[in-house]
Symmetry: C2
């Protein structure tokens, strides 16, 4: 008797850790494992640890590897989906241009699809989370930088070379140099690192005593949760700073309403998870002031729902959905 292939593997491939999950036919999580990405051990050991994670996950869940229909990976960087490679992998250098999909497909005998992690995360929200039922969706993820993704007419929109969705690199105002080398990018003015550097300056001039007590003016230590604690403890200057930054995000959202006529924004990432009400409210209010009234009226703004599961669920669903329709997706 031929074994039914009804399970899927979803992998969130980060530079410091990997999340690997086994999903049943209804995309319920049957098991998951988190492993350190030991980049220093090189590619062969990295691949072994990936193969072993999948095999032991199946074993522990009592599911034969043969029941896996597809495996989806969400990875940072620009993805070449036809080649199954990461065009440039900043955190895991030995993956750059390596045929990762082919290696996994060969070893595990499954269909493999690789997708940009932000795209995969938004697709997860679209299939199972905050964006279910919407058709034109803009995802904005405020972590260290600001990532973005687009679902247009119910499909991930990838652009001409798989790099669409760089909302963090839309012009918003002249300001600090961005990680991309340009100035004026939203990310350079409103990403967590930008917020932290301004907060550090405020702390350095004694304008944020609670923050100063926690971290001093050390930008590297001023993470999203530290900012949240400073706001909760009464650092009004930090709260003002975060409101202003959220409004910059909202200004870009307003432009995107006029440009793409979406029905939903999904906001997520560490900054939003730490201070969801503050950031979503300010961003939405700035968006409504900026966009054309007739277009913005029906636009909704939601907080992401799936958190750490968004990428594994989205990558897995993409691997299933797109193998089902023959990857005609552009």
């Amino acid at each position: 008797m031929r074994m039914k292939r009804d399970f899927t593997i979803g992998i969130d491939l980060g530079g410091t850790k990997m999340l690997v999950a086994l999903l049943d036919g209804a995309f319920r999580i049957a098991g998951r494992v988190k492993v350190k990405t030991r980049v220093e051990l090189g590619r062969a050991r990295f691949l072994d640890s990936l193969f072993n994670s999948v095999r032991s996950l199946c074993k522990d869940s009592g599911i034969p590897v043969k029941r896996i229909a597809a495996l989806g990976i969400g990875s940072p960087g620009i993805i070449d989906r036809t080649k199954g490679t990461v065009v440039f992998s900043p955190n895991i250098p030995f993956l750059t241009k390596f045929r990762l999909a082919q290696a996994l497909a060969g070893e595990l005998d499954v269909k493999v699809s690789i997708e940009n992690d932000v795209n995969a995360g938004l697709y997860g929200e679209f299939r199972f989370g905050a964006a279910k039922g919407y058709q034109n969706i803009i995802g904005i993820f405020m972590g260290t930088g600001i990532g973005g993704a687009l679902i247009l007419n119910g499909r991930l929109f990838r652009g001409s070379s798989g790099a669409a969705g760089e909302i963090g690199h839309v012009f918003v105002q002249e300001g600090p140099v961005c990680g991309c080398g340009r100035t004026g990018c939203l990310e350079a003015s409103a990403g967590r690192l930008a917020v932290a550097s301004e907060a550090a300056a405020i702390a350095a001039r004694q304008g944020a005593p609670q923050l100063f007590a926690m971290t001093g003016p050390d930008v590297a230590q001023i993470k999203s949760n530290v900012l949240r604690k400073a706001v909760e403890a009464g650092d009004g200057a930090v709260e003002d700073l975060i409101r202003r930054k959220a409004r910059l995000v909202g200004c870009v959202m307003g432009s995107l309403v006029n440009l793409l006529n979406p029905d939903l924004f999904v906001l997520g990432g560490g900054m939003v998870e730490a201070m969801p009400k503050l950031i979503v409210k300010e961003a939405e209010s700035a968006m409504r002031e900026r966009a054309m009234p007739g277009l913005v009226r029906h636009v909704r703004v939601a907080e992401s729902k799936l958190k750490d599961d968004a990428i594994i669920l989205g990558a897995a669903a993409l691997a299933r959905d797109e193998s089902a329709r023959g990857e005609s997706d552009g």
Copy 2:
């Protein structure tokens, strides 16, 4: 014997004039007519003049009306394609929410499709002009205002309510109040009316003698060709002004490269037609400085080719293409 239905009608429905063209099976123009849009005579007379234009065009070309397979209209405003109406028609008020497609289909017994005029124009360039062979195309049309349209994955992208592509209302810098009621829009800073108002101020303070001699500081008279003549006659301040405005357009183009990962921009409209080299060159140079290097490398910038024929050709092609694939286009 059943008559072959191989001709198409394309209509460019402007507030002051209408262009009606008869196109053969290969979309060659078999005949065309230009009529004044006499809004003051009311809807019934307007419709009569439209019907008569189509009929006399067919008669003069020796083509029976029965050979028309489809009729496509390009109209300003937001279009509801399922209802076949213009949701809001600023220049021809009696068309607002009127079932224009149904009226035409009933009278002439053809399939009718209505599309926003800027969308139709870009589609014309995509099928027959400067954008042939590209898949992800951004059209920017600098007339009195700044219109825009998007072709993504080889299809017009219309957004959730048919209003996508408002590139003139992307935020670029704080500035004058825009026609849309907001501030900060590209159109408010770089549309022809914005350029004319700044040029008038320069002329008023005697900074542009050639322009002053032609029009004085009268904003309404400072059209694209007047600006071109002033530049050619040596008004350096006017040339600088136009360069700076083109660079603002280029700044937004850079953001759109990062956001949508396109392969082509098409620039058109009265301002571009009057000064194509100056504007295309400055806009492209600013775009390349603003966008992420890896994304912008393969992006091309072209001047529109079809000029006055873009909308009639695009509207006609849309009517044919989309009736052929059953309007599954979203």
